[in-house]
């Protein structure tokens, strides 16, 4: 809309330190955007290996990065996310920007030694992040 165009013209569209080609490069290949990251750990690091027998290693993964101003279909964010962004920018900066959080998880099978010495194989829900979203 015209209002949007007008506001863009008024504000600094491109930071002074960037030229136009760099700006477009960042637009096309955004960096530090909300995405999945690996975090591999072994249960011995947590000293959990006395009760978790398998797996030895675990990658729960995590979501990190900036949420773009206009979250698109890529993140599957609801309209509320965009509204919250507008509120943060235009009305009240104490309302936080949308956060980069996991949207889907996968389960994990765990083999544990119970306190009584019995052994249990269990499948736990939501143990590995598989997709990120902005909310």
């Amino acid at each position: 809309g015209q209002g949007t165009v007008g506001s863009k013209v008024q504000g600094p569209l491109v930071p002074a330190s960037l030229n136009l080609s760099e700006y477009f490069k960042q637009f096309l290949f955004p960096q530090n955007e909300c995405e999945l990251h690996d975090f591999r750990l072994s249960f011995s690091q947590l000293k959990w290996d006395n009760w978790i027998v398998a797996p030895h290693r675990y990658n729960p993964r995590f979501c990190k990065g900036e949420c773009p101003r206009a979250v698109g279909h890529r993140y599957g964010s609801p309209v509320h996310t965009m509204v919250q962004n507008v509120i943060h920018e235009k009305l009240d900066s104490s309302v936080p920007r949308p956060a980069c959080v996991p949207a889907n998880y996968s389960p994990l099978s765990v083999l544990t030694i119970e306190p009584d010495g019995s052994i249990a194989y269990k499948e736990y829900e939501d143990m590995i992040a598989t997709k990120c979203t902005c909310r």
Partner: protein, 295 residues
Amino acid sequence: SQGSQGEAEITGSVELEPEAEPWSLLQPFDSRDPSGLLPPLFKVLSDERDGPPRLQPDSRALRYMKRLYKAYATKEGIPKSTRSHLYNTVRLFTPGAQHKQTPENQVTGILSVELLFHLDSVTAPEHLLKSVLRYTFNDWASLPAAAHCTGSLEVGEAGSSGKTTTGAPDAFPFSSRFEFRKKRQWIEMDVTPLLQPLVASNKRNIRMSVTVVCEEGRPRRPRAGPFNTSPLVPPSLLLFLNDTSAQAYHRCVSLHSQSSPAQRPERERGLAACPMGTEAAECGPTAHPHPRHRR
């Protein structure tokens, strides 16, 4: 003055609960963690270093469960989607006490043993689907190629002394023919019908009395003397359970999908399946236990 009043209120609230352990404050209010996963995690979050020492399981039992884990989960630890059964929990118990009523090296090949299992780690939301008594052998080479075994199994609730407490134990006569294969150094006995009522009614101390008479079938090699039961070591009890708590992973199995006769009893007992009308998409990528075949 407002500030000091506020401090007094905080101090007062702290004094009300001087005994509270730090990690206990993180526990859910209703103390429901049927999965058993959360208490250790809460302890870790509160930076509690060492918990009480755990009893070490039998190495043979541990080896078996590690093999089971490899069969059920990928290298990354994700449950394999090709599995079609409904259980999400398998528990292995070794007998807490056992009394041999007859010596093992019987010429007649009779083995009679009384076993006591403590199933305290089975939680209320875990529903028993199948239970198996599993015998392993120390020395496979001494076994015949095949054997025919008959016997009986009695199961009942045990009191603290190990004796049956309530009524007469349920008896279960059986007759099986076992083929001993090189890669399978164990035999399994389905004890579900006897154990299910006890577990369902929250009985956790189980006494089992097993009597087995085996006759040698085809000998592996010409051998003088009768079938020797000495390779038998105390059996372990395997419970296949469906944990219905929220923390447990619930795979969706279509009620309309074809199932083998062995799987049907689980479904007939009304165990976890996709609710009516639930589409595959709601069940996630691991929803289909049977991958579609390419045409």
